[in-house]
Subunit: 106 residues, 4 copies
């Protein structure tokens, strides 16, 4: 993933865009792209979404998520694994198995 | 990132959650988490956001984005690099440099 | 607002769209439009957003919010006023005055 | 709806919150609440969403949409009716009837 992050940085810097990329606007951009991804599924059953559209919008989501992570110097794999650890505690298998309830309703 | 995806799958399967994880609901979950990430920046200047909250919500965004990508069997790095290629064409350096305009306004 | 809701219903029914308008997809449509509204403010200070774009996207947000409210037969003014009552209790003036903290941090 | 807007203004002003309510953050707050509304439908069929949760989150969406509209001095009914006029042109009945396609695919 390091190579991808480097290309994202280069794409940004060649255009002199870092001036716009504060963390708040990056989080907004990510949320906007998540909405565009959602649009691929609107008024449809899941299997009728166009995989090409899903692919492109999901790539945009990843791009902004990686730029935001990079802005904070997060170790990407580490923060995800730590969050899974937390979720293991919030959703113990014996309570959460087979139910979609939120942790505070288990 | 493969190890992370494997842990996400195991977390899901131990809880028997794949039944809920159709692509439409995964895209919804991603969008909901993007909203929670946005909340870390609400009513604040970017530098006043709590990095701990940003870290946790961004990890959730990545988790659902990875699960969705996995559901489609996408090659994650490849789809991001392909999207950057497309954006290189949409935002040529000589037109896009230093401006935050959308490609259709350049 | 009743006249507006009636026009929204007629617009929908002339196109035979009620078949797509289940509450889950209406909530998704509302979220997608909220993302498009957000885009009017991306990479900008608030006063640089184009009021025409804000107007159009906000109108779309209202349209789906009204259709969703109508699908549940909510009394629109009543549910907003009731929520303000709840928020009065969650954010007592003496604690919340002048601070943007969330109720659980007050 | 005027009475509702007046109560929203009073709620805000008693807490001295107008300082936080610039249009960009209001649009963010609206988007965040739209995400919370979406959560009422996550991993569920539409009819299994809790109407109480839908009611509360939809009320929050309306509250921020009204505050944003108020910040721009929009005539709320007028902007929605004008947008329906535009959509009548974008989605002519003879082309759009019975299909969920986007206007640019009709």
């Amino acid at each position: 993933m390091d190579q991808v992050i480097q290309r994202l940085r280069r794409f940004r810097d060649e255009r002199n865009w870092q001036q716009f990329h504060n963390s708040k606007d990056l989080a907004m951009a990510l949320s906007i792209e998540a909405g565009e991804l959602l649009e691929a599924f609107l008024w449809k059953s899941p299997e009728d979404a166009d995989p090409e559209k899903v692919k492109e919008e999901l790539a945009d989501v990843f791009a902004y998520a990686l730029l935001l992570s990079d802005a904070y110097n997060f170790d990407l794999e580490k923060i995800i694994l730590e969050k899974i650890d937390k979720n293991e505690a919030k959703y113990p298998v014996n309570k959460a198995k087979g139910t979609a309830k939120k942790y505070n309703e288990l």
